[in-house]
């Protein structure tokens, strides 16, 4: 039905078939006119506010094409004199208010407003500027808001409402005073609703909302401090995202180049978060099998996504007993590296642990009080994928032409199960690989997981091993997760194990990754992880470094030492009157 032609629209004299396009703007883009817009986002509801997709439709006049349903026989002008004039005026009006000093903005080169001004060669603004809110809100460890760069397109408001189902921010005040505000205009760090997922920053066309990058400076300082050793580890999704910034093909895993670049930056130890992901699986899947056998606290909910953990604590604390107590890979890596450093005679505070993450919420996770020992954090600094690119650029490293090196041992060893953590469905697949092998070692590779790898926000699977039937679900996007929780509460859904990732498509689509729109790139990045998986060992229990760790530091799986270092606890943070 979608591909059935429903007539033709004439765009700048060219006949373009309608093939299920929801609005005229999509059809215009299909015809090859890539009009840059601010408030139109393919993943969000149509808003029609930025007025940059204005077109002239014969017999209908001038309209925002994103709000028009294409109809057979429409004649559309995209670049008439009138349209060109209006589009330029609208752009100048957007530029006339606020701070658009591109050379001093972290979003430069990746900003839609800047791109459009350049494409249209806007060299002067005819309208007098009005001084606007210049307040910069850096109170959240995850995100920074700069209202002076905001053009009020509302993308952040809509993704927070429509996709995450939270509504931490909305339009407030009126006229020149209009702004995007949290409830009661609190700083983001004080917002009761924000879970730090950062999807707002992912859809922001300007530099108004960005992951907090203040820690980069501290990382450079630690590297240059002769009294400190600095360890760095990179999350799975980073290896399939970073290359895009340097013009390398999307989705191509570039572990080797990244390891080289990290050494050139001066890190003493270069590790892979996928090692800790294997460790997470060993603990979390064991925890699941125990709960499954006893039938308690099911469905078990994964806990490696920090925005999801924030969500449960703030909005669904009744599910806290269901959350896995296993820490996220990042928060397992920190204490293990520090324990290892101490075992070798070092002092905990002399090892600085830096995590490179595709995520803004990871920054907030590292700051949680329970992840500190005597004032020293398990993870000292979190840098995003984009933040690492900035460090590489600042250091003048010719990234594209780097040779491949390998991660340091033993915390650079990993299995494919640890690598696929970065995609929605990957954590569940890794956990099931572990569980199947534990329950039926003879047929460890008998289960196929293609249904968990699809580009969908909700996936489910039933695995039968001997007389055990495990029902699992994988959900991404917090609004979808909320619906699943509601269905469970209402007794409409029954699962044993559920993986939740806050970002649709998983960590590959995190706020710390290079900015993108749509599902195609999510898929490409995830495929990169599954490709790397085929070159590695299949299941987490085969990670030799992890095995050695249980002999050396951790003792028994799920034992007291493992619990101290690798597990955590949660508490209700629900708003109380």
């Amino acid at each position: 039905m979608e591909n059935k032609e429903q007539g033709f629209v004439t765009i700048e004299g060219k006949r373009v078939p309608i093939q299920g396009e929801k609005n005229l703007l999509e059809l215009i883009r299909k015809a090859g006119f890539n009009i840059v817009t601010f408030c139109y986002h393919p993943e969000l509801a149509v808003y029609g506010a930025c007025r940059l997709c204005l077109v002239e439709i014969e017999g209908m006049g001038i309209l925002a094409s994103c709000t028009v349903t294409p109809k057979d026989g429409m004649k559309v002008r995209v670049n008439s004199d009138e349209i060109r004039k209006l589009r330029r005026i609208n752009l100048e009006l957007l530029l006339s208010s606020g701070n658009h000093d591109c050379t001093l903005c972290s979003k430069s080169n990746n900003c839609k407003l800047q791109k459009l001004a350049k494409d249209m060669d806007v060299t002067e603004i005819r309208f007098k500027s009005k001084k606007l809110d210049s307040h910069k809100d850096a109170t959240s460890p995850a995100l920074v808001r700069d209202h002076s760069k905001c053009i009020l397109c509302g993308n952040c408001v809509r993704i927070c409402n429509e996709v995450q189902g939270i509504g931490a921010i909305d339009f407030a005040f009126r006229g020149f005073k209009s702004k995007i505000a949290t409830a009661f205009n609190k700083e983001l760090g004080e917002s009761h609703e924000c879970v730090s997922c950062g999807q707002c920053a992912r859809v922001c066309p300007t530099g108004a909302l960005m992951p907090n990058s203040s820690e980069i400076e501290e990382v450079f300082k630690a590297i240059n401090n002769p009294n400190k050793k600095v360890a760095v580890h990179i999350a799975p999704a980073v290896r399939v995202g970073l290359g895009e910034i340097f013009g390398l093909p999307a989705g191509e895993p570039i572990d080797g180049k990244i390891a080289t670049a990290l050494r050139m930056l001066g890190f003493d130890y270069v590790y892979d978060t996928a090692f800790a992901a294997d460790l997470t699986i060993v603990e979390e899947a064991t925890e699941f099998l125990n709960r499954f056998k006893k039938g308690t606290n099911l469905p078990q909910l994964t806990s490696c996504c920090p925005a999801w953990v924030n969500y449960v604590e703030k909005f669904a604390p009744e599910f806290i007993p269901n959350l896995s107590t296993a820490r996220s890979p990042m928060q397992m890596m920190g204490p293990i590296l520090k324990a290892d450093f101490e075992e070798k005679g070092g002092k905990r505070e002399d090892l600085v642990v830096v995590a490179v993450m595709p995520c803004s919420a990871k920054k907030a996770e590292a700051k949680r009080g329970e992840f500190y020992v005597d004032g020293n954090p398990d993870t000292d600094y979190v840098v995003t994928t984009v933040g690492l690119a900035r460090m590489i650029k600042e250091a003048g490293i010719d990234f594209v032409n780097l040779e491949n090196e390998w991660f340091d041992m033993p915390f650079g060893t990993k299995t494919g199960a640890g690598v696929i953590f970065g995609a929605s469905g990957g954590v569940m697949e890794a956990a099931l690989r572990y569980a199947v092998a534990e329950l039926d070692p003879e047929n460890a590779r008998s289960v196929k997981f293609s249904s968990l790898r699809e580009s969908k926000v909700f996936k489910e699977k039933t695995v039968t091993i001997g007389d055990a039937t495990i029902r699992v679900a994988v959900v991404s996007g917090l609004k979808n997760a909320r619906k699943l929780l509601d269905d469970i509460k209402a007794g409409k859904s029954h699962y044993d194990f559920i993986e939740v990732m806050s970002c649709q498509g998983g960590c590959v689509a995190g706020a710390g990754q290079p900015q993108f729109e749509g599902w195609a790139l999510r898929k490409t990045r995830a495929e990169g992880l599954y490709k790397e998986d085929t070159e590695l060992a299949y299941k987490s229990q085969d990670n030799s470094g992890v095995q050695a760790l249980y002999g050396r530091i951790l003792d028994k799986i799920g034992g007291p030492v493992a619990h101290k270092l690798l597990h955590t606890h949660y508490k209700s943070k629900k708003y109380q009157d």
């Binding site: 409402n161 939270i166 509504g167 931490a168 921010i169 909305d170 339009f171 407030a172 005040f173 009126r174 505000a181 949290t182 409830a183 009661f184 205009n185 009761h192 609703e193 708003y575 109380q576 009157d577």
Partner: protein, 160 residues
């Protein structure tokens, strides 16, 4: 908690907890408290199953709603076209001076008065118009405005 918001819950119930009725709900709630306190807005959001940021957005969009406590007596001076032409700015400035209101401040320190400049009261024939609480005063002069305020201050002093 439930008792604290019982009168609000009554209003919410009258409107069937319908988020589409947010504006009338806020109007009635504001009549109750003379402004919209934060915890009340949170409570309304919770009951209507919308985000508190949305309630705050609506409350700050309309000039009618106040998010800080309003004074006991509300003075509205019209600054619509007709009133403006007839010199309402002089009335506004005089009242501001009289009430010792600083830039951006609309409620007096003692909480007795709130001054609101409104865009039209629909009584252009009486321009310039001032409304104190529910009483309309047409063709007002700065001197008359000061006199009316003094009368209220005197009456309040007698009460106290």
């Amino acid at each position: 908690m439930t008792e604290k918001f019982a009168p609000v819950d009554k209003i919410l119930k009258e409107h069937g907890c319908d988020p589409a009725k947010l504006i009338p709900i806020l109007q009635q709630v504001q009549d109750l408290y003379r402004y919209l306190p934060e915890d009340v807005m949170r409570h309304i959001a919770d009951k209507l199953e919308i985000s508190p940021a949305r309630v705050f957005g609506v409350a700050t969009f309309f000039a009618h709603f106040a998010i800080t406590p309003k004074g006991k007596h509300i003075i509205k001076v019209c600054n619509g076209t007709a009133c403006h032409v007839k010199g309402s700015s002089f009335v506004i400035n005089t009242v501001k001076d009289k009430l010792k209101l600083k830039e951006g401040q609309d409620t007096t320190e003692d909480g007795l008065f709130t001054l609101e400049c409104v865009s039209c009261l629909g009584a252009c024939g009486l321009a310039p118009v001032m409304v104190i609480d529910e009483t309309v005063h047409g063709q007002i002069t700065p001197a008359q405005a000061v006199k009316l305020i003094d009368e209220i201050i005197a009456a309040e002093a007698k009460h106290a």
